[in-house]
């Protein structure tokens, strides 16, 4: 599998090249959020506001009112948790074209509970006017800004940084409101988002070898969710639906899918994989995904529950997707 290094850094420079209204606001995490290449390329459009996120979000609202297109860069927790009221009142309520680019989604950081955004999707989902996009691979990182650009209101982008695998062909970019059908199957429906999609791909392959076929949907537009399309697949899934997200199971993809199924009367069993209403702590991504049940192994467990039978899949059988070199070493210690 191709591993792409710092795709957002490069893409941001490309995206902004012929759009003089695109500004970047940064709260002292510029290279950590891969906005350093932008700063070097367009210094007059880069605004450092210091470690002061509340002001940054309201300031972005004011700039957007004047026709600027601010792209706020910081860690997801500092946009969604720390400055929630400012996002709600200065950005979302007036439906302004501000792009909130949030890094370190879920358990992708060893930075511990203060840096792990396990609630950001829930917080942004509850805001009227907000669109939510989540990147699952390098191709999506390279297309998310363009997707957001077409949205006439605020967009929260759950962004990946560093070494990012390419799961989807670069000729197949992210499209607003469109899920990706990763694989077809009749027994189960797996709905995944973000970094969980790579894990789910590994598990779905292993399941198939054991005779359990799963349809697998990757969701990058978390809000508005394509509920109709999703339920068409869910209705066809013989044993039930499994959602898998790098986020709390409360308020994110799992909740959104549950709402969609219930509202359409799709009576299927649902297993929500994700952080089970608890806080995590600081450690490596692979350790955390395993410990909190967000990895391929956790999906096998969920499938076993729905199949009501052990599937006897050994760890070695879950290594189907090549993880590539130095998966997260380059960023493991850096914040």
């Amino acid at each position: 599998m191709e591993i792409v290094r710092r795709p957002h850094a490069r893409n941001l420079v490309r995206f902004a090249a012929h759009k003089p209204e695109v500004l970047v606001l940064s709260a002292d995490l510029t290279s950590s959020c891969e906005a350093d290449d932008f700063r070097a390329a367009y210094p007059e459009r880069f605004f450092s506001v210091g470690m002061a996120e509340q002001n940054m979000l309201s300031l972005a609202g004011g700039l957007a009112r004047e026709g600027m297109l601010p792209h706020v860069h910081t860690f997801a927790v500092f946009i969604c948790r720390r400055a929630f009221d400012q996002v709600a009142m200065s950005v979302a309520y007036p439906n302004l074209r501000v792009r909130l680019v949030g890094f370190l989604p879920g358990l992708t950081t060893p930075g511990g509970v203060t840096h792990q955004a396990i609630d950001d999707v829930a917080l942004m989902r509850v805001l009227p006017n907000m669109t939510i996009l989540e990147c699952g691979d390098a191709t999506e990182v390279e297309s998310a800004l363009d997707v957001a650009h077409g949205v006439p209101g605020p967009v929260y982008l759950r962004m990946l940084r560093g070494e990012v695998p390419r799961l989807f062909s670069s000729s197949d970019p992210m499209v607003l409101g469109q899920m990706r059908l990763v694989s077809r199957g009749a027994d189960l429906l797996v709905v995944s988002s973000g970094v969980c999609t790579e894990e789910a791909m590994r598990a779905v392959l292993a399941l198939r070898r054991k005779g359990v076929s799963a349809a697998h949907l990757h969701v990058s537009t978390l809000k508005p969710l394509s509920g109709d399309g999703l339920c068409d697949f869910a209705s066809e899934a013989r044993l039930g639906v499994i959602t898998m997200e790098n986020h709390s199971v409360v308020g994110g993809l799992g909740s959104a899918v549950a709402e969609a199924l219930a509202e359409r009367g799709v009576g299927k069993r649902l297993v929500r994989l994700g952080v089970q209403d608890q806080y995590a702590h600081g450690a490596s991504k692979s350790y955390l995904l395993a410990k909190y049940g967000l990895d391929a192994r956790a999906l096998i467990g969920a499938a076993e529950r729905l199949c009501e039978a052990p599937l006897d899949i050994a760890d070695g059988e879950l290594l189907g997707v090549d993880k590539g070199p130095a998966d997260e070493q380059s960023k493991a210690e850096a914040l």
């Binding site: 009112r65 600027m68 439906n95």
Partner: protein, 306 residues
Amino acid sequence: MDVNEYVQEVARVAFGVRRRVLEHTIRNNGGYLSQACSSAEMLASVYSGLLKLGPSLGSRVPGPFLGVPSASNPAAASGASYNGPKAPDLDRFVFSPVHYALVLYAVLIETGRLSPEALEQFNKDGSMVELIGAEHSPGHEVTAGSLAQALSQAAGIALGRKLKGETGRVVVFMSDGELAEGQTYEAIAAAAYHRVDNLVAMIDVNGQACDGRMDSVMNVEPIAQRLRSFGAVVAEVDGHDATALLEAFATPHPGAPLMIIGRTDPCRDLPILQERAPKLHYVRFKDKGEMARYEAVLCGLRQKEV
């Protein structure tokens, strides 16, 4: 601008605002009366020549509420239309302490931007003339009720206007309670750091907060020193003195925002309010006797007006 005319106009508008807000408070048995007393001259000055504003584009009698901003609601109204058109050389007015909304509506009425009948819609269901204004309410450009966000938003508007090469200023009216919010100081620091010198704030320092006297709630002094230390140029004046406000606005502030501290009296021209001290935030009469005494004060003001 003729300074004498401006001073007389501010006095006329401020008098009318206090009279009108008192009248409304009696009629509704409730109102933000001390805010009218403290801010009447500062808000009157905004619409009497201190700011370069065009004529109102809003309807003198506001229509019904047309819904909140969203992609599917292009009809959502902007209360900024009452402050005139947006043009590169014109100033923009941003109203932060939106619990002063009644006072702002009264100012708009006294300056001919709003019809007196507009107040009949005040705090009525389905109206835009809301108790705590939002950006659809007459005179309001941003949604500022979560206090201290307006200064940052105004700094963003001002920075955006600078980037576009516009010459007009962005003037924010604030209250002293907002000086307890950390975001206020974040905004000043950022505006100074990025040399947003088309930004002006005027602060009604009436020494009052919701719980009572400001200094019994939280200390925000020394205000001038605080604001200066974060990078603002500061002028401190008697907030009831129109000439002093005019001079304060002329303070040079190259490369930095200008913040004008207006020291004001929350009982100005209505000394009867002092009986309610220290809790002046919102007036609701204790009994008929108290209301009758306020009615007598209103009668006196009406005679003075004639």
